[in-house]
Symmetry: C2
Subunit: 538 residues, 2 copies
């Protein structure tokens, strides 16, 4: 029996797009003699589920699309992911559409509701696990989290164990498992651990593609009953895995080993999909001559092509010559379009007007932020004129500490590198330079600066990034207390100061663009904090 795992790239809430993609794939599979074609979790509505399913006619619309898939799938077994409504309950389900069009459901049992997941907002859990007899095979199907029972102590049932008791000949898990660096290995370990108890071939199908913050890395695989990896298809792009139950074959596409390389692939995919799924082709960003915007430009060129990346240089009197030289080199090396707008005139004019209004000279911090915001206004004008989405160029370290200007350098439709610490941004920069130097060496060496006043350096306001980065990680990703972070070898007063900043800057992050998630805890939907919580003023 030939089983095809179709690792497709769906769009959340776009029933028409997802249906077309599945119908096309079914036609190919029919031509290639596939017996059973499998699509990822929620392949029809797209993942993640969102509140669009609460519109009164949504299930009617989905039913029409199910009929379209059914009409296209004569003669082939298809398993797809749907949202099933029965009485007052809604389920996340795998639907088996047999070759005569009859349908059978396996409802998802374990519903993730931590971090970025909201499945309990939408779904009720299924309560049984069944093996499906499809032709000569006994297929044990499970949906994503159902694989993860051994991983989370709060789960009291193990759907895979229940399946195993029913003696399947093949197990298949359909997932929409968001990328986190290093997770590919965790998934394989999980499957192998299951197989130690229930020796049975196991097919793992993951979604691929970006949907807002979430990036699905694909990397679907097949494991023999004894836990040997037999096949793995591509990561970070669409692909198909064909598993023949009658003939063991070995075909393994490597999943990138290096954590930073994984993150780079993920960001390129997430950025590409965010732009395309928003209906755009082009992006625009401010290029400062610093590492952050250089790396975002490099990633954007990989994702969208140099012809679709516009770089804008907006110098003031505080911009050093080397910034202009390096920014120009980066744009030239990458082949991006170059715009330049010297903004001293506007800056001075606005500064003078505001001083007149307030009857005093504004403070330095006000003035610095004002400059960053003028840049935001210019970038949004270019965005509008060029039909290009603005890319926000901030990193995780500055987003954590609030070392960024709301409505200024925080302007953007998407934040590609806001889940990378400053040191990781340098690391990705080196990866971008691997074949030919696109980012000049000086950009890596010079001290980071916002260049919003004379001779400014980040370390005027912040501890050095080799102190900032680990403290931010302990706070944001690891949930460590102030005392624990200090015990890791940092000055208690500095830890307290940084923790305080992180807590107080929630108001900025509330209004930040979506952040492409590549770590275990990114800013955005997976981290839900109160904004007004600094106690009453005196």
């Amino acid at each position: 029996m030939k089983i095809a795992l179709s690792q497709i790239n769906t769009a959340t809430g776009d029933l028409t797009f997802n249906t077309q993609k599945m119908v096309q794939t079914i036609a190919q599979a029919q031509n290639e003699g596939i017996d059973l074609l499998v699509f990822p979790e929620l392949s029809l509505p797209g993942y993640p589920p969102k509140d669009f399913i609460f519109t009164s006619d949504w299930f009617t619309q989905q039913e029409k699309k199910i009929q379209e898939v059914r009409a296209a799938s004569a003669g082939i077994h298809v398993i797809l992911g749907v949202i099933h409504k029965h009485e007052n309950k809604i389920y996340n389900a795998a639907m088996w559409m047999d070759r005569d069009g009859k349908t059978t459901l396996q409802k998802k049992r374990l519903l993730p509701n931590q971090d970025v997941f909201d499945e309990k907002r939408y779904f009720a859990p299924g309560d049984t696990q069944s093996v499906w007899q499809i032709d000569q095979e006994r297929i044990g199907i499970s949906v994503c989290e159902d694989l993860w029972a051994p991983f989370f102590p709060q789960y009291t049932v193990d759907p895979i164990a229940e399946l195993a008791q029913q003696k399947p000949t093949v197990m298949i898990n359909i997932s929409a498992s968001p990328f986190v660096a290093g997770k590919d290995k965790v998934r394989k370990d999980l499957v192998q651990n299951h197989q130690k108890s229930y020796s049975c071939p196991f097919l793992y199908l993951n979604l691929v593609g970006g949907n807002d913050e979430l990036i699905f890395d694909g990397g679907s695989f097949a494991m023999a009953a004894d836990g040997r990896l037999l096949m793995q298809i591509k990561s970070f792009e669409e692909d198909v895995l064909i598993f023949d139950t009658d003939r063991e074959a070995l075909d393994i596409a490597a999943y990138p080993e290096d954590i930073l390389e994984q993150k780079k692939h993920a960001i390129v995919l997430g950025l590409q999909d965010f732009v395309h799924k928003s209906g755009f082709k082009k992006v625009v960003l401010g290029l400062s001559g610093g590492i952050d915007s250089a790396v975002v430009a490099g990633l954007a060129v990989e994702a969208l092509g140099a012809e679709n990346v516009i770089t804008v240089f907006m110098p003031t009197q505080y911009t050093r010559d080397i910034s202009e030289i390096d920014a120009k080199s980066i744009a030239r090396n990458l082949g991006t379009r170059w715009y330049e707008l010297p903004m001293d005139e506007v800056k001075n004019q606005l500064q003078a007007n505001i001083a007149t209004m307030l009857e005093r000279t504004m403070q330095s911090l006000t003035f610095e932020n004002m400059q960053a915001r003028i840049r935001g206004v210019i970038l949004m004008a270019v965005s509008s004129e060029e039909n290009a989405l603005v890319l926000q160029t901030g990193n995780k370290s500055e987003m954590a500490l609030g070392y960024c200007t709301l409505y200024g350098d925080m302007v953007g439709a998407i934040s590609p590198i806001a889940d990378l610490y400053k040191h990781e941004v340098y690391g990705i920069g080196k990866l971008l330079n691997q074949d030919t130097e696109v980012i000049p060496a000086r950009v890596f060496q010079r001290a980071p600066s916002a260049e919003l006043k004379a001779d400014q350096e980040d370390t005027d306001s912040l501890p050095p990034y080799d102190v900032v980065d680990p403290i931010v990680r302990m706070c944001v990703e690891e949930g460590k207390s102030v005392e624990e972070a200090a015990a890791a070898g940092y000055d208690l007063a500095i830890v307290q100061k940084l923790y305080g900043w992180i807590e107080n800057q929630e108001f900025k992050r509330k209004q930040a663009p979506p952040v492409l998630k590549v770590s275990s805890k990114a800013f955005g939907v997976g981290r839900r904090m109160a904004i007004a919580k600094r106690g009453y003023a005196d």
Copy 2:
């Protein structure tokens, strides 16, 4: 037995502030001979719960505060709301601290996870309901949602019914029930319906105060066993209800009848608390001479006092004389500080610079948005100089359709009226004029305009608001399909157009300030939509 329901205003995540408030209240209650003092749901950690509880030492910190409350409460029974951790599970619980310091827990059974609620992200459900013998009374305690089983068909247990079987002499529900216009009546109906089956006196204690988007309206009440309303304390402010089980008393503070008046009270409270709990006293907003900013200014003056409200007028060549006259009248009538910054110079300068850079004149829409964004830059400078939070002045109708400029008029720390349709903004304007006219009559009569180009009116781009408002409501609040909305008497093409706009403007709302929620469905945490979902570009 004298039971006091202490309707306090807590701050989310501020253990110190909430503990101090409870300790002070306990001292008063001891002086006044109260036997049992009751605080609202999660009174110690604050409501709503957020991810701060995932910091490794959070429960240790809470335990210290529980000890502080215990140390202060000798000789009096106290019921407070805490987060309880046991093994791998976390519960939302009512804690009874008896007069000797011994504690007993009642865990919340039903965990709301729809709309703005995320309780299943944090809590496991309790599984039993117990009556507490406190002195001569048998107290049946329940937590918020546990009252609502008859209201939601998905619930399969009814904690109040379980309590009733144990023959309590008084039932108490401790809630943190967010304000929605008209909800006070629903709560009373719920309690009365329960009482038809289980005749028993019922005390309903609600939280009061604003926490980010959510506003808790208080309005706690006591009902006799036969369902008569005996006592109701104040709404939208702190108050205490003292119920003597030995002596029936009648004392009913009116809850505002009028829906718009309710919303006005809620917004004033929510705005006041957002500003104060953020550690600020002052606010600043752009006054245009139109109804939206006039109403926000009026509400801000009620919430914070005229001395804490700064109004900035930023005219261009497109600003009509009557706008300036009316804006000045509003500021004078309200007594707010007045700043004026004519911005043609800066606007023309920036327009020319961008034209030079792009080598063409920008389109009208780009130019209009650019002006709105310059206003945003100016307001943020005033904010920084005056230590005043910016108030965003958009309404729900324009936020729905995206008739607003991201980083322009969408700038702000909080959106006080973004859950009011345009017609409701006029209604609140009339309420503000009830005693003396603060908003000139002309502001109500003239056609709404953004004044971003010559002779602009909203109806150049939008259908009239008496068409927009009901269609937005059907889409956003009622989840009606396009066909259902058209069937309510609207042109199908217009409904389709507006529904499309609402869907496509998600990217703006992602970056909007928090919206004070007063309707059944506000933009923000209670409405979770995908951003990039307009299908692939060709």
